[in-house]
């Protein structure tokens, strides 16, 4: 579906994407994971055939975006990072008019609009103005809109950023259904849980390059330990205490508010910490996540 070789994007002096190779296969959910500014959105805009490639090769659905932009876009669904709904149209017309931009016959768009209103659970809001919708409703409408042309490839840029937990789960459920229906999904996110939930395969991007690639589980196995012990001490004590627990795990990360000890047995680490007379204010043991993978790969946390 997508093939990129040495793909680059520069804005003047600034290189947003610095040579990446990507293969996305039909029917899979593929993720770009990384902090803001990693080059995810630039990559997505190139894939959406609205941003010219600065270097390297890019094929989308076997076509070249430089020459076949409209033909590619006809088969894509795009859900941009910020909702770009048409504020002057009501909810139904947002779907209907957008469908007409694709040249889809009127009767087909009308039918499709009704289906998608149902899908987005907005049927009773069909006549509402966009500004009357909640954040979650707007997001669902944007996603529904991106499905109007039954895309082969759906691009979702930060689909759940800014949504409350309930709205996020609702959206994930809808994305699962699309995946089951055979739609190829490409998702960018800086939420670990989202990537773990949704993606079959993902790449971790940092400063315009790919730092690692694989399934969420592979990446965790490859770059982290099974468990993590999180220890919180008093304000400002973490740096100095790190040395005292360094030998307890495979690796120790010092964060401003806690110490992370990477190990295969977290409970054992906790026990040893107490044996050494250290009294953390709070402690917990959890499984490794992609957050830990990212920390390991880049030395920074994803939320930045």
């Amino acid at each position: 579906m997508i093939l990129a070789r040495g793909l680059r994007k520069s804005f003047g002096e600034f290189d947003a994407v610095r040579g990446i190779d990507v293969d996305v296969r039909r029917g899979e959910a593929f993720g770009f994971l990384g902090p803001n500014g990693a080059g995810k959105s630039s990559t997505m805009r190139m894939i959406a055939a609205v941003s010219p490639v600065s270097g390297g090769e890019l094929r989308i659905l076997g076509l070249d975006p430089a020459t076949d932009g409209p033909a590619i876009r006809a088969r894509l669904g795009v859900c941009p990072q910020e909702d770009t709904l048409d504020n002057e149209l009501n909810v139904r017309d947002n779907l209907y008019i957008y469908g007409r931009y694709f040249g889809i016959p009127k009767a087909v768009v009308r039918e499709r609009t009704d289906e998608l209103l149902e899908f987005a659970m907005l049927t009773d809001k069909a006549k509402a103005k966009v500004e009357e919708l909640s954040g979650g409703m707007k997001r669902r409408l944007t996603i529904a809109r991106s499905l109007i042309n039954k895309p082969d490839l759906l691009l979702l840029d930060e689909p759940t950023t800014g949504l409350d937990p309930q709205a996020r789960h609702l959206l994930w459920d809808q994305l699962f259904r699309l995946k089951q229906a055979g739609v190829t999904l490409v998702i960018t996110t800086h939420y670990m849980d989202e990537a773990e939930q949704l993606c079959d395969r993902l790449v971790v991007m940092d400063r315009g390059v790919i730092a690692a690639e694989g399934s969420p589980l592979d990446l965790i196995r490859q770059f982290s330990t099974r468990e993590v012990a999180e220890l919180r001490f008093g304000v400002g004590e973490h740096e100095s205490l790190a040395a005292k627990v360094e030998d307890l795990g495979a690796r120790v990360e010092v964060l401003p508010d806690r110490l992370l000890v990477y190990t295969d047995d977290g409970e054992e680490v906790l026990a040893k910490v107490h044996e050494r007379g250290l009294e953390p204010i709070a402690a917990l043991v959890r499984r490794s996540t992609l957050e830990d993978v990212f920390l390991r790969l880049t030395g920074r946390s994803l939320a930045d």
């Binding site: 609205v50 409209p70 770009t84 008019i97 694709f102």
Partner: protein, 269 residues
């Protein structure tokens, strides 16, 4: 439900430029239904000016000579208002409205995520401005007719002339709008709009100017539009009428090329 993925998007026919124009117009028409009050009242503005300046002030003025004819002041001002309102309407549509859609509403970004192209977007905006302009100009000409201010069949061509003025200014102003950074920049538009409106021999004959100043005014686009409309409604065409037409056509086409190029650089980055 979105589960049946059988008929794919590629199965639909490609959007032709004409089809694209029709769809964008459908979008604009759908949104405009919400603004019908603004639409209706917009027509009244030139009519108010005609009654105020043309008739109210006109009682203080006898007649003006134009291309050898003596014409009453109101009949002199009316074609000027026709041209000026085409100009003002085009400016409003292609500056504030386009800027808002470009920077705040991100409307063009949505459109470009579909098979539409920047050329479709530019043509769609200009066509919409033209449709609105045609309605206003047509209605204004009817008012002139009702007031007995039209004495020549040439006046029928004043409608396309008003559209030509609208086209020339829409495309150039839209091109300028793509260079604007914030709403503060629109003060500069006002700074150009008002002198053009007031000094393009809209309300008084060009003989108010002497020497080089007169040449400058004669070379400004709105003056060409005003005189063209005046020549048509009074039925006194000259060779200068053809010059005005060519001037405005060329101006519009240049603007269109620039708009298209600028939208490419702004939106396709």
């Amino acid at each position: 439900m979105a589960t049946d993925q059988a008929p794919r998007a590629a199965a639909y026919p490609h959007l032709t430029p004409g089809g694209a124009l029709a769809v964008i117009t459908l979008r604009n028409f759908t949104t405009y239904r919400r603004y019908w009050k603004l639409f209706l009242t917009g027509f009244l503005e030139p009519v108010f000016y005609l009654f105020s300046i043309g008739i109210g002030v006109g009682q203080l003025i006898d007649t003006f000579e134009f291309n050898g004819q003596q014409i009453p002041y109101a009949e002199f001002v009316a074609p000027g208002m026709l041209a000026a309102s085409a100009f003002n309407g085009a400016l409003l549509d292609s500056t504030y409205n386009v800027f808002f859609k470009l920077k705040y509403d991100k409307l063009y970004d949505q459109m470009l995520a579909t098979p539409l192209t920047t050329a479709d977007v530019a043509r769609g905006e200009i066509l919409w401005g033209q449709l609105r302009g045609a309605t206003y100009s047509g209605a204004f000409l009817l008012v002139m007719l009702a007031l007995g201010m039209i004495h020549s069949w040439w006046a029928l061509l004043a409608l396309p002339a008003a559209l030509l003025i609208g086209f020339a200014f829409s495309s150039v102003c839209m091109a300028l709008t793509t260079y604007m950074k914030s709403f503060q920049d629109f003060d500069k538009i006002t700074l150009a709009q008002l002198p053009l409106f007031l000094f393009s021999a809209t309300f008084f004959p060009i003989t108010a100017y002497d020497g080089w100043l007169r040449w400058v005014v004669e070379a400004t686009p709105l003056y060409r539009g005003v005189v063209l409309c005046r020549e048509l409604t009074t039925g006194s065409l000259t060779a200068a009428s053809a010059v005005s037409v060519v001037y405005l056509v060329v101006m519009g086409l240049i603007g269109l090329v620039v708009v298209r190029r600028r939208l490419d650089t702004l939106l396709l980055t």
